[in-house]
Symmetry: D2
């Protein structure tokens, strides 16, 4: 029948696209996150380029687990901005309450995907609030970024971890060492034509 | 000088090899872990083959984060078996003390690498102790597997999560949907010849 | 001025009350959660009473970290039920999508408060869905409990961990052993009159 | 019989004592950890005293979950110092390898006990290495503190979270607000005489 309900099926492309669209709507660019990565990593890799930082941020954002956290966090920020949450949750998120830690929990689920070595970088940028994080924390704008603030720091920390793993692999190859690649195969063997994510 | 100390540099191949060697020495095969994966996943994917399960377990074991947890856990088991730990840590690990949870913490760092959807599968096999887990939990052998027991369950849970992500990708491709692959590029662009991990 | 905005200040009583009210509105009773605890723990403590299980569930629910997770999770369930979330988040939560793991992440933040020994119990009940969890998972009612389902399992697992710690303390005291109590002092020294949480 | 093996039973006092003894042997004092807490918290609570910081560190160290992580981490440091670990684990811990994250994982199990609000403080001190952390990171001494370093930062972060929760409770009481105390009852109802931890 024409109006029969189509059974639900996850559309991973739609989730990936929504993540990009919503980060953009909330005023955060991939370049700004890449700048945090550069800040965190340049002392370890003096030759690191902004292009590499951007690429690693994009790879982090391509992970389903990361997309889920980004979308859920932004959703809660938006609803808090519109005043549509239940009291006292509305108050806690609106005021970025210090004893409310669900934002940190979502952020951590992002860091975790690239392993525990990112914990430190996350805490560091979350405390110092450089660059884009300072703007997201400005409480005078009427915008609410209680979740997005922590999420952006987490994406930067995860991208930093990703870079650390890759730089080790490159070093071993330059040294001609036998190398054991980590889990690298594509999520599906025959990638669909028209995929717009690189490599 | 001939005996000058060579500066330390991580050799990822050596870490990967040691992981395989030590799991084998402690009596656990990839096939046994794959059997746990089959047990967990066959009701969702009736066509799932043992070959796929084995492959996914191998991919999980190729991750550095996983190797670190496996080696650290087995090390503590071995030292406990030899009676070489400090009291009261020796007692707690030797007796698989219920209030000692560091084994669960290491196990969780493995599950986390493939995302939170593996939490449930980990707890389930850890409670029911099917297959290889029953043998590792036999307290009458003199062997101590306080850590390995949880680690094996975690590897099986992580492999199950990995399968869930891949099956979704396959489904979307069969449906001809536009597809957004997750982070899939190789850790290094030019894999060294002689790498013995597949794909 | 009479209508000047009162500066925000967390009201912990309001958060605690809202947690109770919202669990009740969503149809979950403390007794039902206590029944999950009994199911998980009776084989270890044959003399465990329902009264003890209820008390331990209440203690878990008195923790701020737990209340934050409960309120956030229920909020997302309610909004999904009302169809008010952004696509594709709406679809994923409405359909309890298998690759969406934010519900497990919130659940884990609850289990963690009482330590890693609760991981296994959480996974076990979340897989088997006994008692109240079966009802919360019924997809034919039009109600959406994607988050609450996991949260209830997590509260039961946390209460089980709490019992394990306390039973150890009781055992040591019965044996006349010198005992080292864990962090037990009140969050504030002079509890306000009229507090309705026990002890 | 004289030589019959006494059945194992956890002695919580012995675990608590060993934690103190081993931290002392490894050269870390409660006062030094309290100084990290003061550094992290003084800007939020100008009247915070060193006595309060010391007390909160002691409360954190009284938790079983924390003691387990401390003892396991110090054990691995000591064995690495003695060169008794298996290659390549020996190399990774001896050199505080950047891609080895089990130390961060143990640290995180400590922070988690007092909730996610401590994540940021942990990362911050772990990056900046103030006070005692600078000494523990000195790689020229022959001592190895790969684990203890992260653990000390985690204990300081956890104590900071504990203070944040208590200060909120105090504020509410001063304001005469109805107050909902968190889980505060003693782990056992009749504390043994001679217990040397307060309240």
């Amino acid at each position: 029948m024409a109006d029969a309900k189509i059974p639900y099926s996850l559309n991973s492309k739609a989730v990936a696209e929504a993540t990009k669209v919503w980060m953009h709507k909330r005023g955060v660019t991939v370049t700004e996150i890449a700048e945090l990565v550069m800040l965190l990593q340049k002392k370890y890799y003096p030759n690191l380029t902004m292009e590499e930082c951007v690429h690693n941020v994009e790879m982090v954002l391509s992970k389903r687990e990361v997309q889920n956290a980004v979308l859920t966090g932004i959703q809660l920020d938006v609803l808090a901005e519109e005043g549509k949450l239940l009291t006292p949750l509305q108050d806690m998120i609106e005021n970025d309450e210090g004893l409310y830690g669900v934002d940190e929990i979502l952020a951590f689920s992002i860091v975790n995907v690239y392993g525990s070595i990112g914990f430190t970088n996350y805490g560091y940028v979350d405390k110092l609030k450089p660059g884009v994080l300072e703007r997201l924390n400005d409480k005078t704008t009427g915008e609410i970024h209680t979740f997005l603030d922590d999420i952006v720091g987490a994406v930067a920390a995860a991208a930093s971890s990703r870079i650390a793993h890759r730089k080790q692999a490159e070093r071993e190859q330059e040294l001609g060492l036998p190398h054991a690649p980590e889990d690298v195969e594509e999520a599906a063997k025959k990638p669909a034509a028209g995929s717009d994510l690189p490599e």
